[in-house]
């Protein structure tokens, strides 16, 4: 199978190789971009919208003086993709040391990497000099608390997993317990989906109680067409401030995250690139798209 990056590299080659850019050629390139995005799991509707925009711009806009037409077409494809990702700049985390404590909440579907990402973020923030703590708020998954405890030990940060079966209480007590010794506490929540109404309500209540400054949706790179719908449900319940795409060390393309961003406006802030606590990187839209385009 030809992967997304290969496809776009092919497209790039096609564009670079073209001597004249007429309507047929633009349409052909747009079709290629379409296919590449679909292979990357970008929402079908979004792909159709995006390709229409690219086609329209390519046919209507005059390239600035000195820019060859084919380079300009390439730039349009690139720009539209970056635009989809929310622009060129990556937003950092909202952390303010004048606050009593900074609260980061991680939410998302089942098995996406929330607990692992909590530990990765703890390490990342610790390296920046913050005093970080981890709070377990998943009373459902067997050994979820133990998983967080072992990871906390690995990154050497305090952890609190209140021994009750109520997720909201776990979060509230955990933040309370750690807020004096920490600048930032990261709350790990259980997996849930948009149809699990009780769990979505639970999350809403949790957020009302602990008032997080950051709510990050953790989404793995394999999630396909439903990413946008789920993201929207999380956003409605708890106001997402960012997205973390995990498992980018596989060949999965992460197009689901594009849909999540498009639907919620929450920018991608980090990417997970492995199972270890060091495998976290700040999101870089430029290099992400450049990688996809093969340029």
């Amino acid at each position: 199978m030809i992967g997304f990056a290969d496809r776009l590299a092919e497209i790039t080659k096609k564009i670079k190789g073209a001597s004249i850019i007429d309507e047929d050629f633009v349409k052909e390139v747009v079709r290629d971009v379409q296919r590449a995005l679909l292979e990357a799991d970008v929402d079908v509707k979004l792909v159709l919208e995006l390709s229409k925009r690219i086609e329209k711009r390519a046919l209507e806009e005059e390239p600035p003086a000195g820019v060859p037409k084919r380079d300009y077409l390439l730039r349009i494809v690139y720009e539209e993709l970056v635009e989809l990702l929310g622009g060129e700049k990556t937003e950092g985390l909202d952390i303010d040391l004048s606050r009593d404590v900074n609260v980061i909440m991680l939410v998302g579907l089942y098995g996406m990497g929330k607990t692992t990402t909590a530990a990765k973020l703890a390490r990342y923030l610790q390296r920046k000099g913050y005093r970080v703590g981890l709070v377990g708020a998943d009373p459902y998954r067997p050994a979820a608390g133990e998983q967080l405890r072992q990871l906390a030990e690995e990154v050497d940060v305090p952890v609190h997993v209140e021994d009750v079966d109520d997720a909201v209480e776990m979060a509230v007590k955990g933040v309370e317990a750690l807020k004096d010794e920490c600048d930032v506490v990261i709350v790990d929540t259980a997996g849930r989906d948009r149809l699990s109404e009780d769990l979505i309500d639970e999350l809403r209540e949790m957020a009302e109680r602990i008032e997080p400054h950051e709510v990050l949706l953790v989404l793995d790179a394999t999630v396909g067409q439903k990413a946008g719908d789920h993201a929207e449900a999380f956003h409605e319940a708890v106001q997402l401030t960012g997205v973390v795409i995990t498992k980018l060390d596989t060949a999965a393309k992460g197009g689901g995250a594009l849909s999540a961003v498009a639907r919620t406006g929450a920018p991608i802030k980090f990417v997970g690139t492995g199972e270890r606590v060091d495998d976290l990187e700040e999101f870089n839209p430029r290099s992400f798209v450049a990688r996809l385009l093969g340029i």
């Binding site: 199978m1 296919r35 679909l38 292979e39 990357a40 799991d41 079908v44 579907l109 089942y110 098995g111 996406m112 990497g113 607990t115 459902y140 998954r141 067997p142 050994a143 979820a144 133990e146 998983q147 405890r149 072992q150 990871l151 690995e154 989906d193 948009r194 149809l195 699990s196 793995d220 790179a221 394999t222 999630v223 396909g224 067409q225 439903k226 990413a227 719908d229 789920h230 498992k247 060390d249 596989t250 060949a251 999965a252 393309k253 197009g255 689901g256 492995g274 199972e275």
Partner: protein, 286 residues
């Protein structure tokens, strides 16, 4: 007769419909091409009949992808081994977080309900609290867990479990393996080694119904390294499209045995190709 021009648009639509259901692009395209070959030149009484003929052909095309290249039945496999006087060995493999451990707990419950004695091997010795997670399941279900320490050789743990089952006359060993990125050659080789040592009766690929195009790469690579006998698709309850069943079937020929439809032990449902096809064609929301 039906001409290409008659059905181009409708085929385009069906292809997009498949992709919207998380069927990998490559698979959706190949189904479209098959269908086209099947339909062009076919005789119809009038043009008005075409949509019905296309829908029928589409249904057939999907069912034929889901037609297993070999029959696999979990209970029969276990029963056959029992009659041979040895435990059946079943290995569960898949990418990180797809639902292997939870599925093993569900399958253990199912087997137990059928009167079989079950041993679970905690051969994910890598992930934090993977062992404790299984311990809790095993305790709740009342089945034996054989485990080692975090960091132990996973094959050795699995092998111990098999020896334990043999010594105690247990019916089946369910081997939990660590989730792994299929792009990590060392980890895939480790799995291959485990298979060589254990000679399992079945290798079960556990896939995530939320996954889109990646399902094909996952299934292909796991099939290449360890050979997949059958698959279970999890998280179908999570408003998932589940087109991965077509992608997995297409590249491995392995039947989908069960669907995971929740986080409780009984949330395991037998898979039926007809059910899936109706879901896609009926356009039913999850």
């Amino acid at each position: 007769t039906i001409t290409e021009a008659d059905i181009e648009d409708i085929l385009d639509e069906l292809e997009l419909e498949l992709i919207s259901n998380d069927v990998a692009v490559e698979v959706a395209e190949s189904i479209r091409e098959e269908l086209k070959k099947e339909l062009v030149g076919r005789r119809v009484k009038g043009k008005s009949e075409i949509p019905k003929v296309v829908e029928e052909g589409f249904r057939e095309a999907l069912l034929s992808v889901l037609e297993p290249k070999k029959e696999v039945d979990l209970m029969e496999t276990v029963e056959k081994a029992r009659q041979d006087g040895r435990p059946a060995i079943i290995m569960f493999v898949g990418v990180n977080g797809s639902g292997k451990t939870t599925t093993i707990a569900k399958v253990a419950k199912l087997l137990k309900d059928h009167g079989y004695s079950v041993v679970i091997a905690a051969a994910d010795t890598f992930r934090a609290a993977a062992i404790e997670q299984l311990e809790e399941h095993a305790e709740r279900l009342g089945v034996t867990l054989i485990k080692g320490e975090r960091g132990d050789d996973p094959t050795a743990v699995a092998f111990n479990a098999v020896q334990h089952a043999e010594a105690k006359g247990k019916d089946v060993v369910l081997v939990d393996t660590a989730g792994r990125a299929y792009t990590d050659v060392n980890l895939m080789e480790e799995l291959k080694k485990m298979k060589r040592v254990l000679e399992p009766d079945l290798v079960v690929f556990v896939g995530d119904a939320l996954a889109g195009n990646d399902a094909i790469e996952q299934a292909k690579t796991f099939h290449e390294y360890v050979g997949i006998d059958c698959a279970i698709l999890t998280k179908v309850d999570a408003d998932a499209k589940g087109g991965a069943v077509l992608s997995i079937s297409k590249v491995t020929g392995a039947p989908i045995l069960y669907l995971g439809v929740g986080q409780d032990y009984d949330d395991l449902k037998a898979f039926s190709p007809e059910w899936f096809v109706e879901r896609v064609i009926g356009g039913e929301e999850s």
